[in-house]
């Protein structure tokens, strides 16, 4: 069994978990003497315990017959949905979100496990010989599988975790979904940002110029670009831009506007900027400052002044990357980014080499989920993306999170290790 496992992925996994734990230790450590790493009263002790649990989980996952995951994906998905539903009755409210079950001294967050279940179910459904993504009905069903858990998660409320389900787009795209969906989505985001930055009038003028260029060069290359289509696009863009503007100015509340104005850096009045830094932008500002103060090589392990002073909120969970930035500097944070990049590239490669469609699609789901988490989380911590609260895989403090990602990843590694035997 062991020889068939992809050890590169496993090594990256353990490196990330180890670095993650060290940073959790630094972010939650207080006092002068090194504490017992198994002290369950401390967060780093708890996290260490979860790592041990994850190791046990890995052994269990790898011991189970690979076919089990495909065969029981529907059941797993159902259980997962039920666990999400159950939160409405038995859920425990922590920090305003009812996302946890409390069992004894432990809390479990089912949404962290629902991702793996959804990935399994989606892969199962798509790999079914009768499913055809070109068929709108089948596509709608696939969307349904993805949307169901997301819709259950949104009212917890945990919109960040729900947003993760958008990453399944990559699976659908790999299996034949038109790229138009992505392009339209990206264009909408682009138009939205451009409208806030430059105002709707300039956006329309810019779009018109762009379309004119497309028309001109398109026709020169003898491709038929219909004027009427371009006019339609322009009309749509204009309508979209003006409605964005209207919604932003009239329907959004100030706190929403502040969020976007922080993200796109719309505010240049120093007094207001200072105000934003103290309120809505506090997290981002502190996180950027902490990372910036790290310099090239960082302040050293346990030496981060802002980490020690607890200046960055949620530093051991969503903002754990700022500890990396402060204590390990540019070198350390770049290493982490590269590790994630390697992991994603390796997983894509593994997914592509799968012989069974189920394994491939599940692999894609895993890759997309980890990628999405990484991109959104780090983007938020370094101030490039708006604040969306999702954890950094393998890094952020949290038993359910770590366990969820471990299960997600190792089911795929089990499937990958088993690919030779698939014919049997």
């Amino acid at each position: 069994m062991n020889k068939k496992l992809d050890w590169l992925t496993i090594i990256i996994y353990f490196i990330l978990v180890a670095i993650g734990w060290l940073n959790i230790y630094s972010a939650t450590f207080s006092g002068d003497t090194f504490g017992n790493i198994l002290d369950l009263n401390e967060l780093y002790g708890k996290q260490f315990f979860f790592i041990l649990v994850s190791l046990v989980m890995i052994v269990i996952i790898l011991s189970i017959e690979a076919k089990f995951y495909e065969r029981f994906s529907g059941v797993i998905y159902l259980i997962s949905l039920l666990s999400l539903l159950g939160l409405f009755i038995f859920g425990k409210n922590v920090n305003g979100a009812t996302s946890w079950y409390a069992i004894g001294g432990m809390t479990i967050q089912p949404s962290e496990f629902a991702k793996a279940a959804t990935a399994l179910a989606l892969a199962k459904y798509l790999s079914d010989i009768q499913t055809n993504l070109q068929d709108f009905k089948d596509l709608l069903k696939a969307f349904g599988i993805i949307a169901l858990p997301a819709l259950l998660i949104i009212p917890q409320p945990d919109p960040g975790s729900a947003l993760v389900y958008a990453s399944f787009f990559f699976v659908l795209y790999r299996e034949g979904l038109s790229l138009m969906y992505l392009i339209v989505g990206l264009l909408a985001v682009l138009l939205f940002a451009a409208t806030l930055l430059y105002g709707p009038l300039w956006v329309c003028i810019g779009t018109a110029i762009l379309l004119a260029l497309i028309y001109y060069f398109g026709n020169r290359k003898k491709k038929q670009v219909r004027l009427i289509n371009l006019a339609g696009v322009l009309l749509l863009a204009t309508a979209f831009s003006y409605s964005v503007n209207f919604i932003y100015e009239n329907i959004f509340e100030q706190r929403h506007r502040d969020r976007f104005s922080l993200w796109l850096r719309l505010e240049d009045d120093p007094a207001k900027l200072e105000q934003i830094r103290k309120t809505i932008g506090y997290n981002t500002y502190q996180s950027e400052s902490a990372i910036g103060s790290g310099g090239l090589t960082g302040k050293g392990f346990l030496e981060g002044t802002r980490t020690k002073g607890d200046f960055v909120p949620e530093q051991h969970t969503d903002y754990i990357f700022s500890t990396v930035g402060e204590e390990w500097g540019f070198v350390g944070s770049t290493v982490v980014v590269i590790l994630f990049c390697l992991l994603i590239l390796r997983l894509t490669y593994l997914a592509e080499r799968q012989k069974s469609a189920f394994s491939r699609m599940y692999g894609y789901g895993v890759t997309a989920i980890i990628f999405f988490h990484f991109a959104i989380n780090v983007g938020m911590v370094i101030g490039l993306l708006p604040t969306i609260g999702i954890p950094l895989p393998f890094f952020s403090y949290g038993g359910s999170g770590l366990l969820g990602f471990t299960i997600l990843l190792f089911i795929f590694l089990k499937l990958d290790g088993n690919r030779i035997n698939e014919w049997m």
Partner: protein
């Protein structure tokens, strides 16, 4: 395409994120400085400023504690401003204004909110301060003056201004810096170096502990005590003698160049510029544009030197070999050097003067002859002036001298360039510059230069750069600058006849009125014409009274220059003051109490009021002035050349 989309996006995002990280961590420097780190607070430990002693070890300047209320605007929480203002004794408007100012300086660095509270104010405050977050009390030390004299020498300290903050990164808002005088010149020695402790804080502003176990912390370095060359008794006495007069006194020890006294009148009590009253008093002193108490006349006032400069021409004449001790010139109640060009003199017509008599009678004609011989011994006047200028400059004239006080004037020694610009290229002759012969031409000197000139004569030909620093506590730095002998271009033997002449000035010449029992003085009186503008009309005022002297003649211990604005003639005020100071310094007591009484009670205020009165007035008018018995008016026959 479908297979590589995710990988491609991942690579792009990794590159973008690494780019962003390199901006945050490598390029943008706002977060690199530990002082900018919100998590770290620097706490300063200010060492005591060094004390200042006079040459005899008398303590002149010590310290007293003072307390500043400081503010870190960002840390301030909403507070009961009415109560707080009442506590600090400021108005609500003040509060708002000060807070805004502090905020615009920096929201996170401390600024002074209310400076320099007294100990009593502090006592009532310190308990209550705790409840006003963002405010705290910083102890500092202020100067405590043990003397009322020497304000111009000592200088003062005050809070750094924005320019200081920009120019010198050492200072932070609210710290003190030396201004003027010794405080400025020896700022870094007196100040020492503040210590700093970096303290790690959490986001609730609670202290967690020292930052990095204190590896960046520094201990304060104590300021060093310094000893001045000033003799405080002499300085004080000089200032007392100058009450109700304006002018300057510079007294040197010729053998070392040490400045014994540097008086500028009118002066002020240095204690006026301490603490919260400083700014009000400073403004008053600063805007007194009539008496100009902040103007250090001893260092800054430039005048034609008048007769004392004749000694320089005598020395140059001797060195150049154009005259000797026995050279005589006949005075024709003046000196005619061209058609309609006549320099008056008070000698009776036909009097034959040798060098010594020329000096003690201060004969203009004698030095006009000497000067012409000097210049005309060269092929042309230009070369003559070049040679003459070279000699004059070797006496430290036309030069800042390099003494250790932060202000000064260079004075002026004319050269060929100057005369070329006046008369055209080489179109002038010795006679065009003849006023230089009697110190009334283009030559300008400051009192300290005159005192240094006198010290050179006392030393028979050399000087050490004048200085006020005698010793610095535990200091090994070599003050070689003040131990370098500057030799003049005139050989030592030529000084003897000139000194004899100056001794005669005191024995039987223009300064015979100021004789002091048992002390042999060599001196030279001087009178300087001066002008002012009243309603943009040039008006001549009563002459300045000048006297240079050293004593004892054989073993000079003190050389000084005294000048009294509008004092009429040399021996009338300056000579008497010089005599009293010499006696005070050499004997420690005054026997010429009659002379002392005259000077102490005498006032020139009436003279100073004249040009301001708006009425016509007479100058050089001795008739209305009082003379003690035995001091008849010595009426010069000419305004110039005394």
């Amino acid at each position: 395409m479908r297979k590589i989309l995710l990988s491609s996006i991942m690579i792009i995002i990794a590159i973008v994120y690494i780019g962003r990280l390199s901006y945050l961590q490598l390029i943008d420097n706002t977060n690199k400085n530990p002082l900018n780190d919100t998590a770290i607070k620097a706490v300063y430990d200010y060492p005591e400023r060094g004390h200042i002693y006079d040459r005899n070890g008398k303590l002149l300047v010590a310290n007293q504690p003072s307390y500043d209320v400081m503010v870190i605007p960002r840390d301030v929480k909403p507070l009961d401003t009415a109560e707080f203002c009442a506590l600090l004794n400021i108005s609500k408007e003040d509060f708002v204004r000060k807070f805004k100012k502090a905020y615009s300086y920096s929201p996170r660095l401390p600024s002074v909110f209310v400076p320099q509270m007294s100990k009593a104010e502090y006592a009532s405050l310190q308990e209550k301060m705790r409840k006003y977050e963002g405010f705290y009390i910083q102890k500092r030390s202020l100067r405590h003056y043990m003397t009322e004299a020497g304000a111009n020498v000592l200088g003062y300290i005050s809070e750094v201004n924005e320019r200081d903050l920009q120019n010198n990164p050492y200072y932070q808002s609210g710290e003190l810096i030396g201004r003027q005088g010794v405080e400025k010149q020896y700022e870094e020695i007196l100040r020492g170096r503040k210590g700093v402790k970096f303290i790690q804080k959490d986001r609730f502003n609670r202290v967690i502990g020292p930052y990095k176990q204190g590896i960046y912390d520094t201990l304060p370095i104590q300021g060093k005590d310094i000893y001045l060359t000033i003799d405080n008794d002499l300085q004080e006495y000089g200032e007392r003698l100058m009450v109700n007069k304006r002018g300057g006194i510079v007294a040197l020890e010729p053998k070392t160049g040490e400045i014994l006294a540097l008086v500028s009148a009118p002066s002020y009590d240095p204690d006026l510029l301490v603490g919260r009253k400083r700014s009000k008093n400073y403004t008053e002193l600063y805007y007194d544009s009539i008496a100009k108490p902040l103007y250090d006349r001893g260092l800054l006032a430039m005048y034609p030197p008048g007769s004392p400069f004749k000694t320089v021409n005598a020395l140059i004449g001797l060195q150049e070999g154009v005259i000797d001790e026995s050279t005589t010139f006949t005075c024709y109640h003046g000196y005619r050097y061209g058609r309609g060009a006549f320099m008056g003199c008070h000698c009776p017509s036909g009097q034959r003067n040798n060098l010594i008599r020329g000096i003690y009678e201060s004969c203009n004609a004698y030095f006009a002859n000497t000067y012409r011989r000097i210049i005309e011994s060269y092929p042309n006047a230009q070369q003559g002036i070049d040679a003459w200028e070279n000699h004059v400059k070797s006496f430290g004239l036309g030069d800042y001298l390099g003494y250790d006080l932060p202000i000064g004037k260079s004075g002026k020694v004319p050269d060929t360039e100057l005369y070329n610009s006046y008369y055209g290229e080489n179109r002038w002759f010795a006679t065009n510059t003849l006023s230089n012969a009697i110190g009334q031409g283009e030559v300008l000197t400051t009192p300290i230069q005159l005192a240094n000139l006198t010290a050179i004569i006392a030393n028979r030909g050399y000087y050490y750069t004048p200085h006020v620093i005698k010793d610095i506590e535990n200091d090994t730095i070599d003050r070689a600058k003040y131990k370098t002998k500057h030799q003049t271009t005139v050989a030592p033997e030529h000084f003897e006849p000139v000194i004899d002449g100056m001794h005669e000035v005191y024995k039987k010449g223009t300064a015979r009125w100021v004789q002091v029992p048992d002390i042999e003085i060599a001196g030279k009186t001087g009178t300087a014409e001066n002008f002012t503008k009243i309603d943009s009309v040039r008006v001549q005022l009563t002459d300045h009274s000048i006297f240079v002297a050293f004593a004892p003649v054989d073993d000079p211990k003190i050389a000084l220059a005294v000048f009294v604005e509008n004092g009429y003639w040399g021996s009338r005020w300056a000579g008497k003051i010089a005599g009293l100071l010499i006696e005070k310094y050499l004997k420690g007591e005054i026997t010429r109490t009659d002379m002392e009484k005259f000077v102490l009670e005498g006032s020139l205020q009436e003279e100073y009021d004249k040009p301001l009165s708006g009425k016509p007035f007479k100058i050089n008018d001795g008739s209305k002035q009082m003379y003690p018995p035995g001091y008849g008016p010595y009426k010069p026959k000419s305004n110039s050349g005394q």
